[in-house]
């Protein structure tokens, strides 16, 4: 059965086939019980629940109506995180797909009270034939709350990873997603953040490294209704093999949202023939007193840079890795957790064949220069 994912809020020319992602969808899985590894620091309530805590939002369609309904119907990895007013906390969650439990479906309901600071670190790994991860993030950020969700996804190449995000802001709140997507067969990210309150901030930093027939499909939609809101979206990465990347970003400046500032940037390094990079960065503007920018760039590794690095003793492949890493560093460095950063870097180096420690994360990875020659 075919299903449309990540539909563009304002469709364009049909012949370009960029208005949505059409994929085959298997029957809904029978979910098995599974536990998510969790640890936390600070004053925070972390609970795992059955059923649904997330309300149905009429105009939120998610990555697709079907996957949204699947996540809303309850799942096997539902988790709620609540941090009260003025509190500070960090939470680590580890989701593992396995042949025993190939399907992880659920919600991550985050409530951050007024003036609270919350960091959530998520790690997705493991592999299974026709594996599925479908997680709905529902973030409620109170006044002046700061919520950062860092994610590293290093699934095997048989997993479809669907990441749906809906954010409710508060006045002066700041919600930030930092994602490193390296694994998975198909990765679909749908993010809707409504900046309805004054001075609220949304940031997204995403990196990907595609190989073989991997698909990365990012979709962002940020309506700006509050005054002096700030939106900053960066997606950067590299493609190898026959991998494909779609970026659909929509910053929507609504009437009345004065002094809003929004920018979106999509950068893609094309490492060999056969890759496809598709970029659809939309700016919709009904308010004159705003500043909106978007930029998109795609190209090969800069030959001058390659030459310089090779003249300093690197092999060509080693030089390419250094350039790819420098391209994704702005995201890796903001993950905020060294173990997660190392996981992501190790996965990148494995893919580019500069790390032999398969599946064995080295805490010192960031300090250890691989054998580049």
């Amino acid at each position: 059965m075919k299903q449309y994912f990540n539909e563009l809020p304002r469709p364009t020319f049909r012949w370009m086939r960029v208005n949505h992602q059409e994929l085959d969808v298997p029957q809904s899985p029978q979910l098995k019980k599974v536990s998510v590894a969790e640890r936390h620091e600070g004053s925070v309530e972390v609970r795992f629940y059955e059923g649904s805590e997330v309300p149905a939002v009429p105009d939120f369609t998610g990555a697709s109506p079907e996957t949204l309904n699947q996540a809303l119907a309850g799942g096997n990895v539902n988790c709620g995180i609540t941090v009260r007013e003025g509190q500070k906390a960090s939470v680590w969650l580890h989701y593992t797909v396995s042949e025993a439990v190939p399907d992880l479906v659920g919600q991550l309901h985050i409530q951050a009270g007024k003036n609270s600071v919350l960091q959530v670190f998520t790690l997705f790994d493991g592999d299974a034939p026709a594996g599925l991860v479908n997680l709905l993030h529902y973030v409620e950020a109170g006044e002046n709350a700061s919520v950062t969700i860092s994610k590293v996804q290093v699934h095997g190449n048989r997993v479809r990873h669907i990441d749906q995000r809906l954010t409710r802001d508060g006045k002066g709140s700041r919600v930030k997603f930092v994602s490193a997507e390296v694994g998975g067969h198909q990765t679909l990210v749908y993010c809707r953040t409504e900046l309805n309150h004054d001075e609220s901030v949304f940031e997204s930093r995403s990196m990907y490294l595609g190989d073989e027939d991997q698909l990365f499909d990012y979709s962002y939609w940020v309506p700006n209704q509050g005054c002096k809101t700030h939106t900053d979206i960066l997606t950067t990465g590299a493609l190898m093999g026959k991998s494909r990347k779609f970026f659909r970003g929509t910053i929507d400046f609504l009437r009345g949202g004065k002094k809003a500032v929004g920018s979106e940037e999509d950068t893609c390094l094309l490492l060999n023939k056969g890759v496809h990079s598709i970029s659809v960065p939309l700016l919709l503007c009904k308010e004159d007193d705003v500043v909106g920018n978007h930029a998109s760039s795609s190209g090969q590794v800069d030959p001058d840079m390659l030459f310089y690095l090779m003249s300093r003793g690197f092999s060509e492949a080693g030089a390419r890795l250094v350039i790819v890493e420098s391209n994704i560093r702005p995201v890796i460095d903001q993950l905020g957790d060294e173990t997660l950063a190392n996981k992501a870097l190790q996965a990148v180096r494995e893919k580019m064949q500069f790390c032999s420690r398969k599946g064995n994360c080295d805490e010192q990875c960031t300090k250890r220069l691989p054998d580049l020659n």
Partner: protein, 480 residues
């Protein structure tokens, strides 16, 4: 003054006079003539109407068959699911063919007075004398005047109306007509294939440089009618030509439709510059299709100013099929009250080392809606290609809307693509500075807007740059 206007260096004192003089210019485009015609079809779209048009034009059978097939396609294709609302356009009330009370002439003195007066007021005969190598003038559904300098004829250049071309150069027309824009392309391409009438045919032989521009002007005078002219330009290897297209209509309370089609064949090492100053009336649905195919080391330059229309969908497309082919698009769109102008550019890179450069500017005011909708596709074979897209949108008030909807598809690793877009308003600091130098706020805004669109003005011949600046002043004054 014209040079000053083109360069945007008008003195502060002159600025106010310039703005105040625009009322007369508004009348220059928006004047009506009595609706006279020698023949017109009934409103609506049926096979009988299509047969009637073909019969009146005494066309070959293949063209009638083509029209009927296009009508069939039109009836099967749905309206686009994206883009502006065109529900106000009711094809049952559109008259698709209006033959004016005139035959085509090669001397303005032979053109009936009321039609000649129309083109006099639009400045066409005057422009012909001073700055054009050839002129075509279409009134409603038929071309009423066509001329070309003898010197160009001697060099083998053909510039004629499309009906004549169909008779005199039937083989050439048949092998090119709607091959670049097939009726299956979209609903209004199919409509065009069914009811096309008028338009221009240009052929520039190998190596000929037509140094002075050719111009076709399209005037739609009939209320509730459609204009469906077809423009076909073939520029052979190493040849060069600049074609200018102008269009306008008086305003009526009923919807008018323009669904023209432009097909441009640019040969190896040839250069074609296609400039358009579009100023249709604000009751016009402008659903036009323009497409160019470019050979090895050939160049297509699009220069577009879109000012008129109630609703526009216009995305000139360049297919870069020859190695080293190049496309340059420079466009400005200005939407005022009640206008929804959905414009942009499409480029397809099909060959190695092709390059494209898209530079689009838009201005929206008084609730006007400007949409930039573009596409760049770099296909597998386009090794070493480069593309650059720049969109800038200026909003002059908080009632207006400006959207940027680009789509970029890259299927080759050896490419260099850059895209950037900006949306914003005129900075308060710039207005304050100019006002501190003695300008009123309106005058300061006009000056800044002219500076914003200067790259487009610079790409046009002097007379047309002046006309475009006049149109901007008109829009700013809101006198149309």
């Amino acid at each position: 003054m014209n040079e000053e206007m083109k360069s945007g260096s008008v003195s502060f004192e002159k600025e106010k006079d310039l703005i105040n003089s625009m009322d007369d210019l508004g009348n220059m485009y928006n004047f009506r003539k009595d609706f006279k015609y020698s023949y017109k079809t009934d409103a609506g779209l049926t096979p009988d109407i299509v047969r009637e048009i073909s019969e009146k034009k005494n066309e070959p059978k293949w063209m009638l068959d083509f029209r009927l097939k296009s009508l069939d396609i039109y009836q099967q294709i749905p309206y686009p699911s994206w883009g502006p609302d065109i529900s106000g356009l009711d094809m049952d009330h559109i008259v698709t063919y209006v033959r004016p009370n005139a035959q085509m002439k090669a001397d303005w003195n032979d053109v009936p007075d009321d039609i000649k007066d129309t083109f006099d007021r639009l400045g066409i005969p005057e422009a012909e004398k001073t700055s054009l190598a050839g002129v075509g003038a279409q009134y409603d559904s038929e071309v009423v005047y066509h001329s070309i300098q003898d010197e160009l004829v001697k060099q083998g250049v053909i510039y004629t109306d499309f009906d004549t071309a169909l008779k005199k150069y039937e083989d050439v027309v048949r092998s090119h007509f709607m091959k670049l824009v097939p009726p299956t392309d979209h609903k209004f391409a199919a409509l065009h294939g069914a009811v096309w009438s008028g338009g221009s045919f240009v052929y520039v032989p190998e190596g000929v440089d037509v140094s002075i521009p050719l111009q076709s002007y399209f005037r739609l005078n009939a209320p509730g009618a459609g204009q469906f002219e077809h423009t076909l330009i073939i520029v052979e290897k190493g040849a060069k030509v600049h074609f200018i297209e102008g269009c306008s209509a008086p305003k009526y309370n009923v919807a008018n439709l323009h669904a023209g089609c432009v097909e441009l064949f640019v040969g190896d090492e040839a250069t074609l510059t296609y400039s358009t100053i579009e100023n249709w009336s604000k009751n016009m649905y402008n659903l036009n299709t323009k497409r160019a195919i470019v050979g090895r080391n050939g160049t297509i330059n699009w220069v577009t100013g879109s000012f008129g229309s109630h609703t526009s969908c216009l995305y000139p497309m360049s297919i870069l099929n020859g190695e080293g082919a190049h496309c340059e698009f420079t466009g400005v769109t200005f939407a005022g009250k009640g206008q929804y102008l959905d414009t942009g550019s499409k480029v397809v890179h099909n060959a190695p080392h092709t390059t494209s450069n898209i530079n689009s500017k838009s201005i929206s005011k008084d609730g006007g809606v400007c949409i930039y909708r573009g596409s760049v596709v770099i296909n597998d074979a386009a090794e070493g290609s480069k593309a650059n897209v720049s969109c800038e949108s200026l909003m002059l008030d908080e009632q207006s809307q400006s959207d940027t909807i680009p789509a970029i598809v890259i299927k080759n690793d050896n490419v260099d693509l850059g895209h950037e877009a900006k949306i914003g308003r005129i900075s308060d600091e710039a207005i304050f500075y100019l006002m501190s130098r003695g300008l009123s706020e309106d005058e300061a805004r006009a000056m800044l807007v002219r500076g914003f669109v200067e790259p487009v003005s610079k790409a046009l011949p002097l007379e047309y740059a002046v006309e475009m600046n006049n149109l901007i002043n008109l829009e700013l004054k809101g006198s149309m």
